[in-house]
């Protein structure tokens, strides 16, 4: 077995970069900080590739399953006699896969940002935060136990907060960052409660112990029941709540579209490829517990994923901000992954969904990062997010156009690009798992193709738009990452995932189910066709259709009024109905009582002070009378 202790360096290098750049960045030339950040990440990426190579091919004898290896671990905090928080790195197929995904995308984003962020105020801050994020995300995937995961989970949340609010002078960015943090924080509350419940019942945080089929989690799965579900199910549902928050699943998704206020490379890295799939990773990490111990919780996962994917796809069809379209598309695709996990079983072919989910995660990271970076290049060129102000850009931005098109085809699921393979596996898994969800996914596949090509045509085709200054292609430092990612999007599908990343570590066969694949491709083509018909040239068709379905269009355009609902709950209920009365209550009732006590004292003293009249004779009179009374009482009446 290979020694993987060095994997701990993968997160630590970005951390060192963060500290170094964060403390000294303002003293160096901006470009230097960018280069340091990129170099650090490149180093981490190389290490990640070496790890992957070692794990999957060198240190592995063919035919046996992949085991999970605890490469490194130290105690961080003792909690109870059983529970200790440890920090370390756990190497197994999904963590290695995630390492590759994160370092690759992060490296591309770093390189891209050197160009994209040029001349921005706070250049070094940007790279420091990117390194912080990379550190947190890598720490998250390497977590050996669920509490370590929670720790890094919070850290990615904060990195995301800092990066969304990067343009902190823009009120909308500040609001968005706040929203992102608080919504995910709320979800994390569920995660934390889930962890507390799970760890209390199993006496461990450790993933290896938890997921072991003979471990306490799965063997004690029955447990006490509460409202028809076992304690284990409840804790897993709570944990999934955390995952749903981070992965922007319905109804905790509202922060994701707003998070697009951050710089575009951030959206590519955090809100498309890596952080938002943390929820998927979390469920995958605990998958044996879900699958073997609490199938009820897994159903929840499946349905939440399915609903989110449809919901987001519908909204994506009507949005006009290109980054928001991509955000909803991300949400929809993550819904796919969740659904795949939800319908999956454990072991062998049963675990097809698990494999498909991870596969899709991998390919999605490539093409979605590509889409965002491409969108970034477009925004860079025209200084606007709004696609109604774009059109016919293909001749100004040839490289961007080509790579964007590749990404669109990939996400639409046209063979032989990678999206086709991973999506196909998901559909097969859904077909085997749950027919209702399967049909939803078919619909979503069509919608996906439609809105992606709507986006594509609106940007690169359509009307000839007049720009303030002629758009120009991005510099090489930005286009090279696009090309690399395009390459990944095309060929990632040929990776033998069914041999590498499976629910039980053992490889299995996945013949392509043509009966499912062909209709899905046809539906995708249909979507593309409709989009081509509607948006390739400027026609009145879109408006007519929007008019025909005016209610649906309006609801979709307003994101089904989810934001308004949340706003109502937070502003009206929490602020005005809880917080304000609490503040009032405190000032007037609690403090009023205290002041009232003081007031009573004062009132009494005002009343009593008349005795201190300064009149000697009055004193003398009271004294004499008192003396007489005392004599009377003590001599005669006692």
């Amino acid at each position: 077995m290979t020694d993987f202790t060095y994997t701990i360096l993968i997160p630590l290098v970005p951390l060192a970069v963060f500290i170094f750049v964060g403390l000294t960045g303002h003293k160096m030339k901006p470009i230097v900080s960018g280069l340091i950040g990129t170099a650090g990440l490149a180093f981490a990426a190389v290490l990640a590739y070496i790890t992957a190579f070692n794990y999957f091919w060198i240190g592995h004898t063919a035919g046996t399953g992949y085991t999970s290896i605890k490469a490194f671990e130290i105690s961080w905090l003792h909690l109870t006699e059983h529970l200790t928080i440890k920090l370390g790195s756990l190497i197994d197929p999904i963590s290695v896969m995630m390492l590759v995904v994160i370092t690759t995308v992060s490296l591309m984003v770093h390189i891209y940002s050197i160009g994209y962020m040029k001349g921005e105020r706070g250049y070094h801050r940007f790279f420091a935060f990117l390194s912080l994020f990379s550190f947190s995300m890598l720490g998250l995937v390497l977590a050996t136990n669920i509490f370590q995961m929670y720790i890094f989970w919070e850290l990615v949340g904060v990195s995301s907060f800092l990066l969304i609010g990067f343009y902190y002078e823009k009120p909308s960015a500040v609001a968005a960052s706040k929203k992102a943090f608080i919504v995910t924080r709320f979800a994390d509350l569920g995660f934390l409660i889930g962890i507390l419940m799970l760890s209390f019942n199993t006496n461990t945080f450790d993933f290896q112990t938890l997921v072991s089929p003979t471990g306490p989690a799965i063997t004690q799965a029955g447990g006490a029941a509460f409202m028809g579900l076992s304690v284990l199910s409840w804790s897993l549902i709570f944990i999934f709540m955390g995952g749903a928050g981070k992965s922007a699943m319905f109804p905790l998704h509202i922060w994701l579209p707003d998070a697009m206020e951050g710089p575009t490379p951030v959206s590519a890295l955090i809100h498309a490829a890596t952080m938002v799939v943390a929820g998927v990773y979390l469920v995958a990490r605990l998958f044996p517990v879900y699958a073997l111990g609490a199938p009820d919780a897994l159903h929840v996962v499946a349905w939440v994923g399915g609903i989110s994917s449809l919901f987001a796809a519908v909204i994506a069809c009507t949005q006009t901000d290109i980054k928001r379209v991509l955000a909803y598309s991300t949400m929809s695709q993550i819904g796919y992954m969740m659904l795949a996990l939800g319908v999956s079983g454990f072991g062998g072919h049963e675990g097809l969904g698990f494999m498909a989910s991870n596969f899709h995660l991998f390919t999605h990271a490539m093409f979605k990062a590509l889409l965002f970076l491409g969108a970034g290049a477009v925004i860079h060129a025209v200084h606007s997010n709004d696609m109604s102000g774009m059109g016919n850009l293909r001749k100004y931005l040839p490289v961007t156009h080509a790579t964007f098109l590749i990404a669109c085809i990939t996400i639409a699921g046209i063979p032989p690009l990678s999206g086709f393979f991973s999506k196909d596996e998901i559909l097969v898994a859904a077909f085997e798992g749950n027919k209702a969800l399967f049909f939803i996914e078919y619909a979503v596949a069509g919608l996906t193709a439609f809105y992606m090509f709507r986006l594509y045509y609106s940007i690169f085709w359509g009307k000839e738009t007049h720009y303030h200054h002629t758009p120009h292609e991005a510099p090489l430092v930005m286009t090279i990452p696009l090309m690399i990612l395009a390459f990944g999007s095309i060929f990632a599908g040929f990776l033998p995932f069914h041999n590498l990343v499976t629910s039980d570590g053992l490889p299995f066969e996945t013949p392509t189910e043509w009966s499912i694949a062909i209709p899905s491709v046809l539906i995708a083509l249909l979507g593309i066709g409709v989009a081509t018909f509607m948006y390739r040239k400027v026609t009145g068709v879109p408006d007519k259709i929007a008019g025909a379905f005016s209610h649906l269009y309006k609801w979709s355009y307003h994101k089904f009024y989810m934001d308004e609902v949340y706003l109502f709950v937070t502003k009206k209920v929490i602020f005005n109905l809880i917080s304000r009365p609490v503040a009032w209550f405190d000032r007037h009732v609690v403090d009023g009582t205290m002041n009232g006590i003081a007031g009573i004292t004062q009132f009494a003293s005002v009343k009593i002070k008349g005795f201190q009249s300064g009149r000697v004779q009055q004193y003398a009179f009271v004294f004499v009378t008192g003396a007489i009374a005392l004599v009377l009482i003590f001599v005669y009446l006692w």
Partner: protein, 179 residues
């Protein structure tokens, strides 16, 4: 001469002039009535055969204190001035209280039998008094004598300090002005 008659005359004078002291509206007269009371009291002391005490009463009280009082009256008010009387409420309440107190005390006294001692009386001549005053031991009063002398000294100094015109105040004012 009938000693009882003597006693009643003295007692009557004491009571009448006491009442007049506290009721008259002319302050100077009050002082004179007080003088009569004090002289009558000295008479009682003579009756009790305490001649030295009676003499002290006459010299210190009647001679010293009353004169002091009269001086202060002359310093602070005009002869013709009538004292302001207290309101009827105050008078009534005080009278009630005083009558109650007197009644209470008298009742208490009458309910108690004092048995007169038949021991032979010790001498109370000036010589005896003087000896006792400077001797110590069982029947010596040297310590109270010393204490009272210090008290008198203190009172004297105190009275001077209190009564003299204050220069301090002026100095303080000057200091304030400088600031």
């Amino acid at each position: 001469m009938n000693s009882e008659l003597m006693f009643f005359i003295l007692a009557g004078m004491i009571l009448i002039f006491s009442v007049m002291t506290v009721t008259t509206r002319r302050i100077l007269r009050a002082a004179v009535y007080l003088l009569f009371v004090l002289i009558s009291t000295a008479g009682l002391y003579f009756m009790l055969n305490y001649n030295f005490l009676a003499a002290v009463q006459l010299t210190v009280y009647a001679g010293g204190i009353v004169v002091l009082i009269i001086f202060s009256i002359l310093l602070t008010s005009h002869i013709s001035e009538r004292a302001v009387v207290a309101g009827w409420k105050q008078n009534l309440l005080s009278a009630l209280s005083v009558v109650a107190g007197a009644a209470l005390t008298l009742i208490t006294m009458f309910n108690y039998t004092f048995t007169a001692s038949s021991e032979p009386a010790s001498g109370s001549s000036v010589k005896d008094v003087g000896t006792a005053l400077v001797s110590y031991g069982d029947n010596g009063f040297a310590l109270p004598f010393e204490v009272i002398s210090i008290l008198l000294l203190a009172a004297m100094i105190g009275a001077i300090i209190v009564a003299r015109r204050e220069k301090l105040k002026i100095e303080e004012k000057e200091i304030r002005r400088e600031n």
